[in-house]
């Protein structure tokens, strides 16, 4: 231990002796290690950490699987059969997100509700703060209405009072008895799950559509594997079960399977490629930082060669000297790691606050022991990595060489190693910039992508009409809605909409074409997205009408059933034909519609919708023609789109007021601008683009500091030579050219290698790119030009200094 302590002491003294060098090195390393710590803590929280439930590896997400969709909603009757017949799960729970009107507590409001099976919380190992969870007895039709409250809601609404148990809460006009409180820290992520204030038993819901084996209403499931059962065993068990159901209920279940996904994989699948990309990006940034510091050390070691000559002369072995140097570099790296850790904590908090929607499981992102260990390990590794080059270099320079005067020897060797480092840095920076450039271009393309409708000045909100009224009264409210709202000053057009909502919700209907026999099973039918709207939808969304007419107010429940399709529907099912006048039959609605018009296609699946998106065909049906049995379902919660003259948000107040006039118990909630929805839909891309741009910027700065440092160093080393050249008649331009050419050579080599590397690596980004190929020549050319320009600029400053060399002074020093 003796020599180590001595090395440490001496190392600290050396770092304290040159504070400028130490500061630059520590900052560089702090940026590199900090960026890595930040991204690693995200990766750790999102991808690596187990889910916050006991035995998380035994949790499995379940979906229906159809010919088109691997993850399709489960129908409740099927789910009940799964529960009864499976042999793999100790429990299965279904869940479905909804919004209920909360009344009887001040202003009526909409609250997010999750309908859950009784076993939902026990599967996840969640215990109530007070009270109890649901029992199997609660979870059936006709049971007394009971509810669990989320901890946050309980504190907000009831001040966290323990007397709450047994009290009632009125949701959608029904009084629910509160039986328990869920811990405020609870969260769950899944496609059918949203952050809820209230939980109610799903089994009490008696809606006929919900109870129809042919329809899934956005319901997903989670299960806990029995001890000893593997995922593969569960898959084959459930496969057999699905086959059995298909036999028993061919109309509903033929061709329907079951998808099982480990719960964690299910949660993070979208974030995964982005995080892996960012992790590689920060890895590159750290490499650049290492190379930079190695170069600094090399430059400094040139000045310290005398010290080491003396040490060797005094009998220090090669090992001993390497140890000393490595101790110093590891000390530097640890200091950099410490500062980096602080910077990461601070930066990450800001980033996650700015873009909370971009990632799943952000709650899990924090500095835990894994992150700390990662940072420590990274610092050690980095210290050894960047310390090794100068250490080996110094310890291998022989005594004689150091003493030998002049000539071509150590100095130009030094230059070569440092030059190589600069080339590496430039190459890494090119790769990062290319990656960032491609992400930026994708985002710009996405931003300017035509969604198929005009999203500007469109307000989207949700509304519900109390379902207690008669069907006729509800229909009347719907009619009034469009008319009253359109009459508002500042509102140009308004429409209720149910079913699919562009980029937000997708709802599909199975159908078959006229003159074809009805397929035996649902899975053999074709599927179209459906939009249940009012006539003014066309005006609100500014859809281009390509053929025929759109829905009108004459399309009432007494008039013939009509449908308007989009151009993709026409292309897919009526290629080269006129679809007007043709007929399509909808299975679940039990009706056949005549096609009366064709409109343009909307990018339902988000701005990056492509040919691989699940369903492209779209059809529009009139709200007024919806069969009676679906009307209450619709009244329980539907969306509305409103085109305004001015900023959409300004109209919210008057719209709310108009809604109250139509029906005092109507509730309006969740209003957003369509522009906002579209830009939110890009948040993952934006998050990673911003980070990529930051990292690429860091890389660019570090690489230019690197090239600047090396060229400055070389200029310093070559002062004498420059003096000679000037004595021989070199003009300032000649000297400038000499130095810049040297930098340019390095920059060009780096750019060349970087472009080759970038072309090889960017195809990993393919899945995250839109409208631009991974080898996009424009991006690569622009990146190359930027780097060369920055490289030139970085060389120009030392080159200018070189031209100021006074040949007299330069020649005097020998």
């Amino acid at each position: 231990m003796g020599p180590l302590v001595q090395d440490l002491k001496y190392g600290l003294r050396m770092l304290a002796k040159s504070p400028g060098f130490t500061a630059v090195a520590v900052i560089t390393l702090a940026l590199g290690i900090g960026a890595n710590t930040a991204i690693f803590s995200v990766v750790n929280g999102v991808l690596l950490n187990p889910l916050p439930y006991p035995q998380p590896n035994r949790l499995v997400a379940l979906y229906s699987k159809t010919a088109q969709f691997r993850r399709w909603s489960i129908s409740y009757p099927n789910f009940l059969d799964w529960v009864r017949d499976n042999r793999s799960f100790s429990a299965l729970a279904a869940y479905r997100a909804d919004n209920f009107s909360l009344t009887g507590m001040g202003e009526p409001e909409r609250v997010p509700v999750e309908m859950i099976s009784a076993s939902f919380f026990s599967i996840l190992g969640v215990k109530p703060v007070i009270g109890r969870l649901f029992t199997a007895r609660d979870d059936q039709v006709g049971a007394a209405p009971v509810a669990l409250l989320a901890g946050g809601f309980w504190k907000r609404k009831f001040g966290g009072s323990p007397d709450i148990l047994g009290k009632e809460i009125t949701l959608n006009g029904t009084a629910y008895t509160i039986v328990g409180i869920i811990p405020p820290s609870f969260y769950y992520t899944g496609s059918g799950f949203h952050r809820s204030d209230v939980y109610v038993p799903i089994g009490q819901w008696n809606d006929p559509t919900f109870r129809d084996r042919r329809t899934g209403m956005g319901m997903d499931a989670v299960g806990r594997l029995k001890p000893g059962v593997t995922l593969a065993q569960a898959k084959s068990d459930m496969g057999a079960l699905a086959a059995h159901l298909a036999e028993a209920y061919p109309t509903a279940d033929k061709g329907t399977g079951i998808t099982l996904v480990p719960l964690k994989q299910n949660v993070v699948r979208h974030a995964r490629p982005y995080l892996l990309m960012l992790m590689s990006a920060v890895g590159f940034v750290l490499l650049i930082a290492c190379v930079n510091v190695a170069n600094l050390l090399l430059a400094r070691s040139a000045g310290r060669s005398r010290e080491f000559t003396i040490r060797s002369a005094l009998g220090a072995g090669r090992r001993r000297i390497i140890n000393q140097l490595l101790t110093e570099s590891v000390l530097l790296a640890l200091a950099g790691g410490g500062v980096g850790l602080l910077a990461a904590t601070w930066g990450l908090r800001g980033a996650l606050r700015a873009l909370p929607e971009a990632l799943p499981r952000v709650q899990e992102v924090r500095l835990d022991i894994h992150v700390l260990l990662f940072t420590l390990a990274a610092s050690f590794l980095v210290g050894i990595l960047f310390g090794l080059a100068p250490a080996l270099k110094i310890s291998s320079t022989s005594l004689q060489e150091t003493l030998k005067e002049g000539g071509r020897g150590t100095s130009s060797m030094h230059h070569r190693v440092q030059g190589a480092f600069v080339v590496v840095e430039m190459a890494l920076a090119v790769i990062l910039l290319a990656g960032a450039g491609l992400m930026i271009r994708s985002l710009v393309d996405l931003w300017s992508a035509d969604p198929g409708f005009d999203p500007h000045h469109v307000l989207v909100f949700y509304a519900s009409f109390p379902p207690i009224k008669s069907i006729g009264a509800i229909r009347e409210s719907f009619r009034e809605f469009q008319n009253k709202l359109s009459a508002l000053p500042g509102v140009e057009a308004a429409s209720l909409t149910f079913g699919s909502l562009p980029t937000q919700d997708d709802s599909e209907l199975p159908f078959w074409l006229e003159r074809q026999p009805k397929p035996a099973t649902e899975s053999q039918m074709k599927v179209s997205l459906f939009y249940l709207v009012q006539p003014d939808y066309l005006k609100v969304m500014k859809l281009p009408l390509e053929r025929g007419r759109f829905l009108t107010s004459a399309d009432t429940q007494h008039a013939p059933f009509v449908a308007v399709i989009d151009e993709d529907f026409a292309k897919l099912y009526f290629p080269g034909q006129n679809p007007i006048g043709r007929q399509i039959s909808f299975d679940i609605l039990g009706r056949t519609a005549e096609i009366v018009g064709v409109v343009g296609h909307i990018k339902q699946w988000g701005l990056n919708e492509g040919a691989s998106s699940p369903v492209l065909a779209q059809c529009y049906l009139s709200v007024s023609q919806l069969p009676d049995q679906f009307v209450p379902l619709m009244a329980g919660g539907l969306a509305a789109v409103v085109r305004t003259a001015g900023p959409p948000v300004a109209a919210v107040g008057s719209i709310r007021h108009a809604l109250e006039q139509i029906n005092p118990q109507a509730v309006m909630y969740g209003s957003e601008t369509m522009d906002g929805i579209l830009s939110d839909s890009l948040s993952a891309q934006r998050f990673s683009m911003i980070l990529m741009a930051i990292f690429a910027g860091l890389a660019l700065i570090m690489a230019s500091v690197g090239i600047y440092g090396v060229i400055s160093y070389i200029v310093e080393q070559r002062t004498h030579e420059i003096g000679i050249r000037m004595a021989l008649g070199a003009r300032r331009e000649d000297v400038l050219k000499l130095v810049v050419a040297q930098g340019l050579k390095l920059a060009l080599a780096g750019v060349g290698i970087g472009i080759a590397g970038g072309l090889a690596l960017t195809h990993f980004l393919s899945s995250m790119l839109y409208g631009v190929r991974p080898t996009d020549p424009l991006t690569f050319i622009a990146v190359a030009l930027i780097l060369i320009a920055v490289g030139l600029l970085a060389c120009y400053i030392p080159a200018r200094r070189a031209t100021k060399v006074d040949p007299m002074v330069a020649l005097r020093y020998e």
Binding site: E721, A727, L728, R731, R732, M808
Partner: protein
């Protein structure tokens, strides 16, 4: 851009007997300021050097010899006084004109050779020519001629570190010659050489002088000083004595003119 070297209006007198005056210094002073200390390196130097003349400068260490040489070679400017080169005043020249004159009219030979370590012999000699934008065929011819002149043509691919001191200095002389300068300036060219190599370099300079080169050389060694036509003695930045060797030489060696 031709400078006013040939066409300058302020023509200096063409005195000093037969030869044309190439260098004329009048009251040249040089003061260095360092840390509030003024060093008067040169304190009013008057000196004429004629074309084809071989002048040596001697004096104790620190008397200003190198300073004088660098002013003559346009590496430095005088603090005060006048300097005509080939009849044209040099005070008015800008930086790039000074570079151009250094490149074309002046050949430097240093005590420590000052070859560039990363360039080989050929490239070192070629270097001043490249600054003229001379075509490479002509450069090659000139480089080879001057390397032959100093007997180093067989070492073109060698690097300075692979040569002996005497060989390095011969390469440095070749480099000074290659540009065909009006004047060769040598600052203690033998200072880093043993006597045998020193003799060889001095012999080379004498030969060049015989062929008509103008040479101005700083040396401590009185033996070498006598190779010159004339020795100028410097003391404390002033010329204190001049000694003409020619009469003496002609007696000993009547064949030389």
């Amino acid at each position: 851009m031709e400078t006013n070297l040939q066409t300058g209006v302020e023509q200096a007198g063409k005195s000093h007997g037969s030869g044309e005056v190439l260098i004329r210094l009048e009251g040249v002073t040089k003061v260095f300021y360092t840390d509030e200390v003024e060093t008067h390196a040169l304190a009013g130097v008057h000196l004429d050097i004629k074309k084809g003349e071989y002048v040596s400068i001697s004096g104790p260490s620190g008397c200003g010899k190198s300073t004088l040489l660098s002013i003559i070679g346009l590496l430095d400017s005088p603090t005060d006084g006048k300097y005509w080169l080939d009849g044209a005043p040099v005070e008015s020249l800008n930086l790039s004109e000074r570079s151009r004159i250094r490149n074309r009219e002046v050949g430097f030979i240093f005590q420590s050779f000052n070859l560039i370590g990363d360039l080989n012999v050929y490239e070192n000699v070629e270097l001043p020519l490249t600054y003229r934008g001379m075509p490479s065929a002509e450069r090659k011819q000139r480089v080879m001629e001057s390397l032959e002149r100093v007997g180093m043509a067989h070492r073109v691919r060698h690097y300075p570190s692979q040569l002996s001191g005497g060989q390095q200095q011969r390469v440095a002389v070749a480099r000074a010659l290659a540009g065909d300068p009006a004047i060769l300036l040598a600052d203690e060219p033998t200072g880093n050489l043993d006597s045998k190599n020193g003799e060889a370099v001095m012999e080379l300079l004498r030969e060049l002088h015989r062929e008509g080169a103008t040479i101005c050389m700083v040396t401590h060694d009185p033996r070498y000083a006598r190779h010159a036509d004339r020795t100028v003695h410097l003391f404390d930045g002033r010329i204190v004595d001049e000694q003409d060797h020619r009469a003496h030489d002609e007696e000993e060696n009547p064949s030389v003119s």
